[in-house]
Subunit: 470 residues, 4 copies
């Protein structure tokens, strides 16, 4: 509605009052114009009102929201429930078309803009976070694992003969399943210790060995991981990228929750400079604080990314893009960077707290310098069953997200056996507990966690026979 | 809040007034209890208030909504934007766990219930619609095409050597891409005419031929389709199921928008009786009038369905389940059945209108009895370019969903060439227009469509040189 | 946001798609333009989306919603709670200024438009309903009773010496209190029967008598009532208007829920033709199905109405105007008229049902032709205590709104004693039950009421000693 | 819904997961129980989810929200628009009954609880703010001015012969109109200066003089004001209370926005100790940051307050109570006290900024110690027209709420003439500008105001002929 052009009767409101009020709208109009024309994240977060206003305006452009609508197709974005319409702001057509997630839909101009605009804003965030050379990215409404599967399948379309994925072991189930679900065979390369102090590293030697010994036509790609549970470090993606370039093998990086850490984003940027990174994938929920369900496929060149978009069979949900769009607009550049900076401070704070705890209780925090998110506290003194018990005590006391990793716990997934599952290696020394510092964590949560940890420790000291302890 | 147990001061409200008001709540409580304990669709649709109440109660069970929350993991369902929280009712954890969409999440009791309850209600609808033997189903937050890919990949996990999918041709892009994206090779079996009158049918002979001539180890499955654009009929899934049983080959049915038609659901039920149907897949948006983005995997036995759930790598969005849950509760049994019945009447109505139109304009509506949803109007008299023009005229006048299929329009997808793309066969006689009757279509839309069609026809009669017409 | 002027990158959406989508917005823009420029009720109700869109646009014009706001006053429409902002669409300034409800606020252009526009739409409805000569009206966010008080106080400003209000008795407490609260003295004129069959009528003779015998300077006004509980009829406002003109005395009509009945609105129109009606007041909730809390002051000339607006000391809530605006836009002309027509049918239906009941149970429905809303069922056979019991049985069974009026029940209000309170007269023959048919009542409610009435009647027949019955 | 009692199938969720989740609900249940049983403001503000949950639970107790409803009355809280239902949370019955705002409604148990609970929480806030002896209060959904009218009318019911209100002049229009609208005659007592430095004070001598000289039967009450524009001070309500006691005359205090200042609340508390305060009235919007439209009537004894509640003719809107309830729950004690403390700091800050400005520009801030909210900056050097211009320049630059008071500006309201309107006295020395510090004002707004003031000052220095300045 363009109120500027209306001739309102003076009985509704005096003209001079209206004029002043309309002038006050200009700065909102400029904000919206800049967003849509420049497709960059605004510096300062928007108000909820402004966000909803833009979204409603866009939704009005989808044909299911037209006043007069004649729909004779099998899919017309009709919605039966008002509640559903309301929570989806009237968006029903999804994104993409005929099996290309980046194609525009003639019926759904608003949905198309939402999808493309969100992709543009995410690209902007990636660059702000330090991946300056990133060229192209898009949101897929699937889990990070399934999105990795889709990336692998799109690579397979190029080289149908390939069947192996060289994979630097990380004990996170869906990451591994992304390979087997794609119908591919993982070549698992355990991480290795350099010494007792600094965590687990990529076994570059084994990678080179395998690349040399395997028929290149049969290697689909190298798959590496940045963000992970301590004491595993970020993979040495810089040298893996060099190897990928040297052996002319694609390289896919699982950057699951790495976008929130400038340390990890700089690894990615440098890896691209040093060699070859074809695709890197990250989750929307962990990096942008939205509900679970989306991932971002990104690359330093356009064609491999577009190939993934074209591999998705069908039209996809726009719900995930919408959540990301709303969130990024509400945060703005400064809001997102505040979260990122606060996370860094929180990490240092948790590390300090855990070290104090460790000192008191004769255990140790492992200094894995290549892991800026997750910390590991060795539980040397605790017998395995007691360590396990500590984990469940923490959970019932409201602590979620910590993990207890214990020795001699092997696991078989899709036919592959993993010794010492959870530890990313095959000869774990002793049990440990991991704790991660994600964006959005509040410092009082850290204090409460340390407090609960102390309580539980005391409780198990009392309850268990301490003689069994080491 | 259990108001029954509160001791309210008489200054707030007299006790006898309160008592009567509390008694009036019982019928709501019974509705909720029945829903959660019996897991069946209510007979009559619920009010929005009641639906939101249940959803909010369930959301409160997810740990991100707990008053005191200590989250030390990499994913804690924190949400940065209040708007996002509100539109997701506070749900952030998604569904499934560690790569199994049907596993419960200890952190997310509410999300788990939403997912499982929705699956149960969908199963109930399937049985109501006539697929009485269906055993198990679940919602996947992916397009129908991608879901078919996932089904194929889950079959491939069982028989890694298989590479061929025997596919009864249907010219819908994402359906075909579901095979190529899975890294598999389609064996395309064109549909055939029996005579000029009754549309296109499955070429059973070719199927049997291929099944006989191909190494069984290399055949992943038969893939057939129920709902489709006229004049293609529903595949002869009953006889395909027999062949599948005979040759011991899996059979996947694409039932994209077939759940809304009792004709098609009965085909499925009979196919299962006659032979083998391992999995059948349908879209949530087209059958339940929710936004695009979800599909339902179903089966007559539990194990193949569960295998698909386990193939999904990662945790998935719960947004699609939530939309289906809200919609089914708001419709109830009677609401859904009214939609289904109204659709049948609308189909007859459109057919009649089109036949009247055809008579006036010397064209013909093809009587494809095996297609209860989509109708084809032959445009014998129109030259190809004029037919194409008719399509875009309709679209600019607000008619969406109709398609114009023309001769000699070949297309290559992922390396496979299709003659006469759009027609499901390789020797199309003449151009035609399709129009579909989906649930939710209103009769005035049909009238408006016929009216616009007449207008456009007159316009092109005026504009184009009628001498070029046949 | 004027999307027409934006230069969107083709990556966001192709230009031709956007063009079509923007064209589809025009009819919405025309609807909004017409509403704001013509200030008439739309023929057809608007969608929720369109209503919210206009309201949000208007709210943006209030200065508390400006992006940059510097408020150094004692009242700046700041709101502390987001929930409150949301439910009020950001409106906080209220309506009116410095003690004139019709004055525009420079700070609150949107609130001003909402208030004036709503008043204009209400005026339109009044004319549609048959009060063709009405000149001016406005909403006051107060109960009908308090609004009558305000009307009386505004009349008193003109003639400070006046102290009497000649009031045709209606036994509705707040109506009577509107006089005493204004500090005025009611001269109560009981209604009278003409015969046993047709209910209660205005005692015109007594009115003329009092007008003749009282010092004209001391008479503030005549106060009459249209809508009321049967078997009281609508006051004879036509002849009262003549008397008011003859004696040069103001005439205020309480039209509480009379706007929904075209019979009553025509009485008002004719009364104005026949003589003098200075002000008439009706409730927003009863006539427009909005929450309790507002009233409409209307008149056939502008000056007495404006005088009331100027008597309100302070700035008032805009919440009531907003509810009315939303409701009228969502109904449109046809929607409102459908409600009005359905009510008439429901009245006839209830009357028929009650007459059948009466016949069976040897009682009688009184034929008060001047009451088109409320029916009275005489309970001749029931002793007083049993009649009372019937009323509370109905209430505990979920029937609300019916009243039992019994003999010999006197009541004192603000020092005035009323014999046979509830009956509008001082010599009630026998107990009766009233039931009213308002807009929005559904026919199944009538059926359910009759059913419950039968059940209760049977129950009391069983429980009470029928020998005590007459 | 009491999930504790449900027997959920393990397929929905494992029992042990559910148990933990249900335990986590307890602290919410305790919060709700305490609120409803103790009727005190919670220490810490509630989440939006919890607030909405309680409100929805209460709304469910009103009979219009019952599943089966049979309404045969003229007012059944039916609502035609879903948007209206949603924004009112389903509340439609309003508060009060038959002309007593404090009476419970049998049909509307939820509305009754909302009204009474809100009144209880407001009472709690009043005591927290220092009015420890307050006994009773309630919210009226009317402007503060109209509410003062209602208070005066309720006093008039007791002493019908009274006609005068002794009023300490304050130049705020609706305050004065509250007297004339009630049909009463104000005896206006101008405020007086003690010296040039410290603002305007109550003329106690004149009050005593008038009380002595007027027939006591004809005096309705003394009406005084606490919060006001500087340089008027809070009336000397302590000594006025003594006079009221001495002469046995009621005393009504207009405490419009005084509840936010502990200085003013302590004046009230002390006034009650020193003498007689019958009623004091404050606005909900200015003290609680809710939309305009409500006021609070309070007293140190119950009977005069209840008398006001009984004077309101009709049932009133519950919308204002709901806004206050939501706001108070969202703030909690600490939230409200933070606002109050911040306001005090802001006042000191603005004073300092204005004094610095004054020093630079050769003007003066008047030290009215009895006004803790509004400051006056004398504009000695500016000619009248230039001062007026300054005011409108500020407004067009986005500064709202400041006032310019100029000499020789008389005004007539309802027949009473005020010399030097705006100045609360009849011989104003020179123009001044007022600025108020309310709760919710942000410090950056003060900075922006000072900045704009400087800009405007420079502009008018340039534009106007400075020779005309003094």
């Amino acid at each position: 509605m363009n109120l500027n052009n209306l001739k309102l009767h003076h009985k509704l409101v005096p003209e001079n009052y209206l004029k002043l009020a309309l002038e006050a709208q200009r700065c909102k109009e400029i904000q919206m114009k800049e967003l849509l024309e420049k497709r960059k994240l605004p510096d300062v977060g928007w108000t909820e009102e402004l966000i909803e206003y833009v979204i409603q305006q866009l939704a009005a452009l989808d044909n299911n929201n037209f006043e007069h609508k004649i729909g004779l197709g099998e899919r017309e974005a009709r919605m039966a429930s008002k509640l559903v319409i309301r929570r989806n702001y009237g968006f029903g057509h999804g994104i993409g078309r005929s099996g290309d997630l980046l194609e525009a839909q003639p019926k759904a101009v608003g949905s198309t803009i939402v999808a493309q605009l969100t992709n543009a804003l995410v690209l902007d965030v990636m660059r702000l976070q330090g991946i300056k050379s990133v060229k192209c990215c898009f949101i897929v409404p699937m889990a990070t694992g399934m999105t990795l599967t889709l990336c692998l399948l799109s690579l397979k379309k190029r080289t149908p003969s390939a069947k192996y994925v060289l994979w630097s072991r990380i004990d996170q189930k869906s990451c591994f399943k992304s390979i087997t679900t794609a119908g591919l065979t993982p070549i698992i390369i355990d991480t290795v210790k350099r010494n007792e102090q600094d965590g687990l590293f990529t076994d570059l030697g084994k990678f080179e060995e395998n690349l040399s010994s395997t028929d290149r036509e049969e290697i689909l790609c190298i798959m590496s991981t940045t963000s992970c549970f301590g004491p595993r470090n970020c993979d040495d993606i810089i040298n893996l990228a060099s190897l990928a370039a040297k052996f002319d093998v694609p390289h896919v990086v699982n950057n699951a929750y790495g976008l929130q850490s400038t340390y990890l984003t700089h690894q990615l940027e440098q890896a691209n400079n040093a060699g070859r990174v074809d695709l890197f994938v990250q989750s929307t929920d962990k990096n942008f604080m939205v509900p679970v369900g989306g991932a971002i496929v990104a690359g330093f060149e356009e064609s491999p990314v577009r190939a993934v978009a074209k591999a998705y069979a069908g039209r996809a949900s726009s719900s995930q893009s919408l959540d990301v769009l709303i969130t990024l607009l509400s945060l703005g550049k400064t809001g997102y960077q505040d979260l990122v900076n606060q996370r860094k401070l929180n990490f240092v704070y948790l590390q300090k707290q855990l070290e104090e705890f460790a000192e008191k209780h004769h255990c140790r925090v492992i200094k894995a310098k290549g892991n800026p998110i997750s910390l590991a506290l060795e539980l040397k003194t605790l017998p395995t069953d007691v360590a396990t018990q500590l984990g469940s005590m923490l959970f019932t006391r409201g602590v979620s997200g910590t993990r207890i990793v214990i020795k001699a716990c092997s696991k078989t997934i899709d036919g592959f056996e993993f010794a010492d599952w959870g530890s990313h290696e095959s000869n774990l020394d002793c049990a440990y507990l991991t704790a991660a510092v994600s964006i959005g964590l509040k410092q009082p949560e850290i204090d409460a966690f340390i407090h609960k940890l102390q309580q539980c420790w005391q409780d198990i000291e009392k309850k268990t026979n301490k003689d069994t302890w080491q």
